[in-house]
Subunit: 149 residues, 2 copies
DNA sequence: TGAAATCGGACTCTAGCTATCGTATATCAG
DNA sequence: CTGATATACGATAGCTAGAGTCCGATTTCA
């Protein structure tokens, strides 16, 4: 149903790591090697993940020895929806209802399926839900525990 | 991020079909062949899907010619969370946080990962969100369009 | 000059989703 | 009784995306 892929989680772990480090000294840089070694992650994938975060504008990079990454955007300004878009690409509940318009693209049953429109609206509902979650809620401890159980 | 698999959508299409049919005459039965032919779905998978719905107690089966399936449970009593559990198995945002307890099972980074607890709470939040959606909202037209944008 | 870092591509391996085939069993109509 | 139409069930193949690995190029600091 709903599941993060590995790179998404690696990215969250890295962002949390950098966020905590830069709380004290904002000039501190973090290398992919450091993140991988700290948490036991595969180095190459960690490097690719950080590169992706950099290409997305979330972090900054510095080449060469003593180089590494630093946070560029405040994690309060990024929603989980945006982050998932960046890491895993825009997804949809069903293949043919990413947007209400470009629907029939890769769905063979688009013309006969009667639940497409409903799926589109449900999709928007999910997107709103994910947009309401700040990345800082995840990378910091103290994630809102009790709501209405 | 979040995506239904095919059998889940086939199941929803079938439930909607049966629901509409039985609105007028509750004694009407629906065969897998009928569903598959109506919507152009592969027959074998449709049959397997309906069988799964029957094993889950959502629908009833009648063997032999003139046999088929009939709705057993009211679709208002089933949440999207339950349905996804039935169709795709209990899933989690991350591999190691299905429940707050049995966490470290199949996650290699469980001991070092610092976002596991947060992921667990986020997972519960998603579950509450999906539990708040009735299956009838999907199988009927008129899915709640505007909430808080 | 070498070590450490970002950058980039190509490749394998695997698990899970999707689909198909074949077969057994049950029921109704004639 | 027989054939048509159902459900029920298992085995299997193809495919795709995810995850991980390997190799190389470039940049920068000491
Ligand atoms: S939304 Fe694609 S077949 Fe229904
Ligand atoms: S929750 Fe599994 S590694 Fe973080």
């Amino acid at each position: 149903m709903i599941k993060f892929n590995r790179t998404t989680e690696y990215g969250l772990m890295a962002l949390r790591h950098m966020s905590r480090k830069q709380l004290m000294d904002p000039s501190e840089v973090t290398s992919a090697r450091e993140v991988a070694d700290t948490y036991g992650l595969p180095f190459e994938i960690t490097a690719k993940t950080l590169l992706r975060l950099k290409d997305s504008g979330l972090i900054q990079s510095a080449h060469g020895a003593k180089g590494g990454y630093t946070l560029q955007k405040s994690l309060e300004q990024i929603s989980l929806a945006e982050f998932l878009d960046l890491m895993e690409g825009r997804q949809s509940l069903v293949a043919c209802a990413i947007d209400s318009d470009e629907s029939l693209l890769d769905c063979a049953y688009g013309n006969r399926c009667e639940i497409k429109h409903v799926m589109g609206r449900l999709n928007e509902k999910v997107a709103r839900f994910l947009s309401g979650i700040q990345l800082s809620e995840i990378t910091q401890e103290s994630f809102n525990k009790g709501s209405s159980p």
